[in-house]
Amino acid sequence: MRRILLAATAVAALLPMAVHAQDAPTQTLRIALNEDGDILDPTLARTFVGRIVFAGLCDKLFDINEKLEIVPQLATSYEYADPKTILIHLRSGVKFQDGTDMDAASVKYSLERHATMQGSARKAEISALDHIDVTDKLTVKIVLKSPSAPFMAQLTDRSGMIVSPKAAEAEGKDFGLHPVCAGPFSFGERVANDHITLDRFPGYWDAKDIHFAHVIYRVIPDTSVKLANLQAGAVDLAERIAPSDVAEARKNPKLTVAVFPALGYDSLNLNLGNGPRSKTPLGESKLVRKAFELSIDRTALMQVLYNGLFQPTVQGIPPSSPYFNADLKVPERDVAKAKALLAQAGVKTPVPVTIGVTTSPLSKQLGEVIQSMAAEAGFDVKVQATEFASLLSAEASGDFEASAIGWSGRPDPDGNLYSFLATNAPLNDSKYSDKDVDTWLDQSRATTDVAARKALFAKIVTKVEDDLPILYLDSPSWVTGMTKKLSGFRTVPDGMIRLQGMELAK
């Protein structure tokens, strides 16, 4: 009898495993990426496509949703004990892909790694962090140097990714070659410039929402070839389809295209005070900059470049954000007024302007369209195309008059504004400096009150639109192509591909 009981117990114990094995997904999801990512270590990583891969590999303390609200992921909730102290409560029973437990100690370890590791790209993002205390196994207390409203938003991206301390200690700087996190898929293999394969992690805390055995991220830089792969069924989803390919993709009965607003912006950054090349009519006179803006028809520009899929804008905050200032309208093109402003500024026409663009066809086209539009108002625009690395160096060192480098965007407006507009901030290549804007930016960091921040951001974007250190052109959209068999794709403005809930019909 005892033996029978034992056998029955064994069968009963094995039964869930058998059912589990039967239910285990077998399908592979194939995703086309625009370029190869960099190192797969959340502390050191710097590229956009790298973040897409991390969405399958490393869960974060928090995530954002379609409305840019902060929602739980590895953490279940948070609260402010005071403006400088945040308590974060963690999900229980979460395992890393190496089988170790994800707990408060590992959160402390990961955040400290982000903050202190040599070469960390996260340092600036969480510079407000003073120290972390482990309160209990599933609670950490984060103490900030000063109140920082954008801090929580940082924990929805790479700064909030928690790595396995055991693996990170063992691998050191090479952790990115075999990353171990608490995401739905574990690292499989990587062939540089070709593909990255992730394998389902059966111990994932939200395993019921994962419907693939493997995910393969393939690097396909050419837009036509990317579309061809989608049409031929060689990939299931392709990020950043060229806007000009959307009509073609939509003609295909097997494909669908999701177009949804992104977090960043495209802009012309104008040199106001960065070295001798700022000593131009455009750099020195607000009237000339305004005239230049009025000479551009943003709506027509969007139509020519992006088939009207991107939205014209005059501010660095995306329309999807609750902080977007809807009162700030995009001015209509007004050549007569532009000419009048140039006359008022007393500058000799045509006013010479050199715009630096990258060698990508769209960037060059942007320069050329602006060139022809601005010519009518009395500007002599020269378009200078250099590859991205050189353009970036030129802009950072002040060797530019106007430069077309946009920004990929962050969920909190602070990430789109502070570094570009605050006096001497790291990405402020225009060397724009305005006392009011500096004060408002600092105030927007110090309060977590949404209404108060909204009022401050409204003042900032209005003042910046008046001063024009950055000539915002558009809020881009993500254009993602996929097979109609794929369901569950979420259109979150950060453009990440969240694998939870995605499914391929057989």
Binding site: G176, S224, V225, Q231, A232, L427
Partner: protein, 314 residues
């Protein structure tokens, strides 16, 4: 003989040293700060400073060079700044891919170019000649990337016969490997086929007018034997020389073709490394290519001596 070879071997090291200095030095002339590119969107001065310190970018260039070459002497080419993989591993991963593509492209070029050249010479001024010439001209004047994309649209999207892009290694699945490389190899081989065809044609026309061909015909030999055995053998000498020269074209052509077909080969590796200012990868790839080239030349020198005894005394 030994002294001759000894001299040649002794020349290799200084040449390689010179190449390494050239690569390192020329690279410093490229605009664009590698630390800025690496920092990406996190251009915080603190981060930039850390990157510069870690990668020795804040030291004088001669010191940076000595640091690098010191590693090279010990067999360590460094690691990619961007993805942190060792350069040697990247090269070992990518070189076979480009070699496979190159060999297949060359076989395709020979397979198309030489028979088409023969046909067009033998059937001179007939419709066959015009067709072959037309194809040759089209092959020469069609840009690689255009032909690549057109083939993908036709063969993969419309007909669904072959995968549109990507690469599978020969050892992993040889059928898929051939399926993924046949289109790019055709694109790459196509232009060379055209060159080979035109040269085979003119060499064959010259050969067909020679006395020994007339003699062969007079002996009553079958026309096929005359063409293939007598004319072609003599016509092939300049064609082979040309084919060898075209091998260089293959490598440069591979850069574009690999980009279009998303093939992770040598060409794509170096192009991406240059754009990302991934200096160790650029240096490593150029140094290895130069080493292979120099060693092949040395091998050729050795072969001359082995084949031609008169050189042994030199």
């Amino acid at each position: 003989m030994n002294s001759h070879l000894g001299r040649r071997v002794l020349q290799v090291l200084p040449t390689l040293l010179l190449v390494s200095m050239l690569v390192f030095g020329l690279q410093q002339l490229m605009p664009g700060d590698p630390a800025l590119v690496l920092a990406g969107e996190e251009r915080d001065p603190l981060v930039l400073q850390q990157i510069r310190t870690e990668l020795w970018l804040d030291r004088p260039i001669p010191i940076q060079y000595l640091h690098w070459i010191g590693g090279v002497v010990h067999g360590d080419l460094g690691y990619s700044w961007r993805i942190r993989q060792p350069v040697l591993q990247l090269v070992a991963e990518k070189l076979p891919v480009t070699l496979q593509l190159g060999v297949m492209a060359f076989l395709i070029a020979i397979g198309i170019g030489i028979p088409a050249g023969i046909l067009s010479a033998v059937k001179r001024n007939t419709k066959w000649d015009y067709i072959a010439n037309g194809i040759g001209l089209a092959g020469l004047s069609t840009p690689n990337f255009w032909l690549g994309i057109m083939l993908i649209l036709l063969v993969s999207v419309r007909l669904g016969w072959l995968p549109p892009s990507g690469y599978v290694s020969l050892w992993e699945d040889w059928r898929m490997s051939l399926a993924t490389t046949i289109m790019p190899a055709f694109v790459l081989g196509n232009a060379i086929a055209a060159v080979l065809m035109r040269h085979t044609r003119s060499a064959m026309l010259t050969a067909m007018d020679q006395d020994y061909v007339r003699t062969a015909r007079a002996k009553g030999l079958n026309e096929t034997v005359v063409v293939l055995k007598h004319a072609l053998r003599n016509a092939l000498v300049p064609v082979i020389t040309l084919g060898a020269l075209e091998l260089g074209t293959l490598l440069s052509g591979a850069v574009l073709t690999e980009q279009v077909f998303s093939i992770p080969g040598f060409g794509k590796l170096i192009v991406d490394a240059v754009f990302n200012r991934d200096y160790p990868v650029v240096q490593g790839v150029v140094l290895i290519t130069a080493t292979i080239y120099i060693l092949l030349n040395l091998l050729a020198d050795v072969m001359y001596v082995v084949i031609n005894p008169r050189l042994r005394g030199a």
